[in-house]
Subunit: 226 residues, 2 copies
């Protein structure tokens, strides 16, 4: 591959956001160099590539860095046309972006907060997350995946729910995803986990548990100081 077209990914093994990008790259069959980052001791490559947010994932394509998992996936899809991830139709595309925004704001961010809270405050976030799942359950009516018959953009956005959510629930002592309450989401999760691309693609659960426990402890300690 020409140096100027090389694809690199700055990531961290535990990150569900980096996982999204790896999934998109695998789906597209794009060759890339994966560069693990130590977020406790940030490399000059990371600081230089993402000076504002200083976080992963960052995709570097032909020397140019792009931050944010969903923006990276949009970019990959606009450069590599095979195996499209987003719908081609502008209306369907807009709706996919709108749902992605909903998932991030009303579910992903809510669970991120719940991980760092306890008691009544956590319970409030859990209820809000369940409201979002209820709406997503409705959206799956008559569909195997969020995009239809095959895995697409929203399935990638939601991918962390099939694996990381369980880890977070265990660590933080709550349950939002009760398979009996959300039978369509349960079926979606099963179909997703059966995809050959997904099998064996998650980081080891035994390592994630202590990692997210530590994040929770730090979050609780920092909240207590306020």
């Amino acid at each position: 591959m020409e140096e100027e077209q090389k694809v690199k990914l700055l990531g961290a093994w535990f990150s569900p956001f980096v996982y999204r990008v790896r999934l998109a790259l695998a789906l597209k069959g794009i060759q890339y160099e994966y560069i693990e980052q130590d977020l406790t001791n940030k490399s000059s490559l990371l600081l230089h590539s993402n000076p504002i947010h200083k976080r992963v994932p960052v995709l570097i394509h032909g020397g140019k860095p792009i931050p944010e998992s969903l923006i990276i996936i949009d970019y990959l899809d606009s450069i590599w046309k095979d195996n499209p991830i987003l719908p081609e139709d502008p209306y369907q595309r807009a709706m996919a972006h709108s749902w992605a925004k909903f998932i991030e704001e009303k579910f992903t961010e809510v669970i991120r907060r719940a991980l760092m809270l306890e008691g009544e405050q956590q319970e409030k976030e859990v209820l809000q997350a369940k409201d979002a799942l209820e709406i997503l359950e409705g959206e799956l009516k008559g569909k195997k995946f969020f995009g239809g018959d095959t895995m697409g953009f929203l399935d990638i956005v939601m991918s962390w729910i099939t694996f990381w959510l369980g880890v977070i629930e265990e660590v933080a002592g709550f349950q939002v995803f009760d398979p009996i309450e959300y039978p369509r989401l349960k079926k979606w999760k099963d179909s997703f986990l059966e995809l050959p691309l997904i099998k064996g693609s998650f980081p080891p659960r035994d390592s994630l548990l202590p990692y997210f426990s530590k994040i929770r402890r730090c979050g609780l300690a920092s909240a207590a100081k306020k």
Copy 2:
């Protein structure tokens, strides 16, 4: 115009998010029907068009509703190719989306919170907003508008800062945008306000002031109850 291609916009006169869409429509020269919504008594058209968020703006094109100001602008730009708003180059496009996300999360949302707070809590948000302005000031180096020589996507995202921010500052009793501290942003604001498209396009300040005062009072009262 054929019925199925008609463009309608559900809006509210005071909303800076609706303003963004009106600006994009004006820039494109798109004819549309504007339908003012009473958000204290939501119409069935709004509830049907945006069942999840139940808020404005909603664009309806050929009967199909699209929510969220920035998603609407992306959509308009992909359907009406004249007077492009986003850069055509995929990398520049990704970076525009990344900056928009930065502005929304690190400035727009922060000011929204500051409007509803007072004392130390407000001061914390104000400092965070100033950090974001400092970064945006750097991004304007050598440029008239965020996109370069002409108004584009990020200028529309930032448009509320040229008018609504002053109203919010007055109502909530803080100042984040000191023109001496941010000379490039000051110059950008002046250039923006001089555009023929912008002149006379804002809602009356005398009506916005009591409106945002009321929002602040409600926000403070609801925080006090918690």
